[in-house]
Symmetry: D2
Subunit: 88 residues, 4 copies
Amino acid sequence: MQDSTRAESLKRLRYIEGHLNGVRRMIEEDAYCVDILKQSFAVRRAIEKLEQLMLEGHLRTCVVEGIRDGREEQVVGELRELYELANK
Amino acid sequence: MQDSTRAESLKRLRYIEGHLNGVRRMIEEDAYCVDILKQSFAVRRAIEKLEQLMLEGHLRTCVVEGIRDGREEQVVGELRELYELANK
Amino acid sequence: MQDSTRAESLKRLRYIEGHLNGVRRMIEEDAYCVDILKQSFAVRRAIEKLEQLMLEGHLRTCVVEGIRDGREEQVVGELRELYELANK
Amino acid sequence: MQDSTRAESLKRLRYIEGHLNGVRRMIEEDAYCVDILKQSFAVRRAIEKLEQLMLEGHLRTCVVEGIRDGREEQVVGELRELYELANK
């Protein structure tokens, strides 16, 4: 991972951890389930954004290099697997 | 939330927090992006499972009570909103 | 299903069928894969909107009646199953 | 799109069209909403499978060629856009 992608990823991760902490507090303090669920959806969407960031970094670096080095079988196989897992 | 649902939710949350910590460690230690993404997908799926658990608790308690109390407009409106948000 | 929901559902279905036909034409005429995929995503989102419409109708009628009739086990079980299937 | 991918895509599309027809019939014949929704989810999953097939074809051909031809900006940009749209 490039330094700028790692820095941005860790920044987003802190945000996600903070919001997940919010979910914990809401469960412990017996908040209304509907409100907890909304907070949880927001955490999930923030994780998706983080994944998009990391995927784009992966495409720009490892995928481009892999294909230039003739390792397209590996690179394409991994992308395919990621896409399947992402939508499971 | 019922006590049993809360206990189970907090147990799952600990699992999610542990795995999210794994994602952080992998980013910090510069693991392969593909492996980090797979771990992140697993966290997201675990959050979805937690949401299913909380939603089921909500249906069994608040929704049933709300409809019996004649508050179906509110209850149905909330479920509709949750469904839309969940799939955004 | 109520008459108004059915009429609206059939209208949306026609729209979906038309767009799916567009996907078929694009594949047959060898359009660029990226453009076909975008069209296919649009079809999928239109189906999701149709599902939201039908789900809301279901909540407003069968679910409310079922709970009033004391069949909450069945009604909640079905909603839970739908939620799980929707996110698979 | 390669001939084999196109043939397989059209085969899957026929399957999807058939199942979508099933959804239409169920709505017209006033089937139980829960059953219609399950059928609709199955259609959506079949479309996702078709998309995976087309995406894999795209990766194996256009993406590999594009990167070899030095058009990685375009190719990566498109993949990023597809990923974002797929999860919307």
